[in-house]
């Protein structure tokens, strides 16, 4: 179904700016809670800031990956227009999560950071996810998309790998109660499962269409 020109203009002029501002709300709250205007960051503000950015990075990758299945179910093609912005916000929150760890938590002590990166698998996994996210963010422009052609799509399948690494990173650092990471793992499983299911049914359908012509 092709979205009407009106819808596209509305999306670009009205909905995109609104969604953009909404995506900035969690980051804004970190600042306003820091100054105790809207809330508090609590007894361990560095941990709180780091956790909030991290959890929002995870939420944004899930939201980004939900766009395609949602578009398919609802037939709202304009949803696709938000995918890049949401993907870039995933990168933004992951980067802020990393910078909080790098600057506030590790105090940019190179020896401590190297030890963490090499000896603590969950930090390595998180770092790998950020490196991949950076690659996707850099190649997210229309120009890069055109230049990379078919390879662009293949590269951007890395979004699934990133989501998987993100959930593992979260799972691995939890002390005992894995309920929350489990929730994200379940969401990811549904999002991936839906795609595999559609791919499988499409294959079966095409196979049937070719191999077993209808009997009249």
């Amino acid at each position: 179904m092709i979205a009407s020109l009106d819808t596209l203009i509305q999306v670009r002029r009205i909905w995109k700016p609104i969604v953009f501002l909404l995506c900035l709300v969690p980051a804004t709250l970190v600042v306003t809670d820091g100054f105790e205007i809207t809330g508090r960051l609590g007894a361990n503000p560095i941990e709180e800031i780091q956790d909030r950015f991290g959890i929002w990075a995870l939420r944004f990758i899930m939201i980004t990956l939900a766009i395609t299945p949602l578009r398919r179910i609802t037939q709202w093609n304009w949803l696709g227009r938000f995918r890049r912005m949401l993907g870039l916000f995933t990168f933004f929150y992951a980067l802020m999560h990393f910078l909080t760890w790098f600057i506030l938590d590790s105090e940019m002590l190179i020896s401590a950071i190297l030890e963490d990166l090499t000896e603590r698998p969950f930090i390595m996994i998180g770092f790998a996810a950020l490196v991949l996210l950076t690659a996707l963010a850099v190649t997210s422009t229309d120009k890069m998309r055109r230049r990379l052609g078919r390879r662009w799509q293949r590269l951007h399948y890395a979004a699934y790998v990133i989501a998987f690494l993100g959930v593992s990173h979260y799972w691995w650092q939890v002390k005992k109660d894995v309920t929350e990471p489990l929730n994200y793992a379940a969401i990811l499983a549904v999002l991936l499962g839906a795609r595999l299911f559609w791919r499988w049914t499409r294959k079966r359908k095409t196979a049937k269409d070719f191999s077993a012509p209808k009997q009249s």
């Binding site: 820091g34 609590g42 007894a43 361990n44 503000p45 560095i46 941990e47 506030l104 105090e107 401590a112 030890e115 963490d116 000896e119 603590r120 969950f122 691995w172 650092q173 002390k175 005992k176 109660d177 309920t179």
Partner: protein
Amino acid sequence: MLIKKPADIPPSEITSETNFLNRRDFLRSGALAGGALVTTTAAGALVPDQRGAQLPGVTPGPFSTSETQTSYEDITTYNNYYEFGTNKADPFANAQDFKPRPWTISVEGHADKTGTFDFEDFIKPFDLEERIYRMRCVEAWSMVIPWVGIPLADVVKYFAPTSKARFVAFETLNDPEQMPGVRRPNLDWPYREGLTIAEATNPLPLLAVGIYGRAIPNQNGAPIRLVVPWKYGFKGIKGIVKISFTSTRPQTSWNMAAPREYGFYANVNPQVDHPRWSQARERRIGSGLFAGKQETLMFNGYGEHVAHLYKDLNLRRNF
């Protein structure tokens, strides 16, 4: 700014100067002050059964640090008490309706005196002391807490353990009605902890009943909890209902949950990392966004009092 305080300052003065009360606590304590009842006589420690009420007859104890104390608000809103939830803010949120009275503690095992005691009777023979201790969590953060309590060593001696008693085991209340966390199998409930008899009779450990001169809040382990300042915080079992003198090493909750990560001894040791994070440094709660971490001290800085307990022990293996 670091404000140094001499260690022998009376507890009442520390409370009035540094006790941070939020508006709600202030209103509540004001309302309670009017009806505060003291139920025991001057012969023993007097612990009013109202939450947050001022504890009478507290004398300054030994071993107190003069470091800047963590604010009352931070101590009482940032807790690990899985019986009330696994997030740091959960115990404050979920423990407000918990009832720390009436409360009984059963003393069992290899001791001359055993039985089940009312909380008031249990602490009556002892005097309340204030001790300002560093608290180092296994998660690499730390606080400085002005506890009020009774020395564990006095309690152990009072119950007269026999020669068969080589360990002291503790258990927390396991009440799914009042403790939403125990409805989920996050740990093998009830929470269990233990010390060797030598550790338990060392003068440092405290059975705490107060913080900042006031009755200990529910989320910090009301009505009575263990404080072992040279060990990681999880050894400080809260809401104690059972103390047993055993001949074999008792099971301890975190060791049961993840034996590779948490040992029986759990001595603070900057040289032995947790498998997933470094224990070399710690974040002091309340130090601000840009203060950075500080070096963790061997035995949390209490080595002169406890290092001799472990002189024949490989601390890397017995973490």
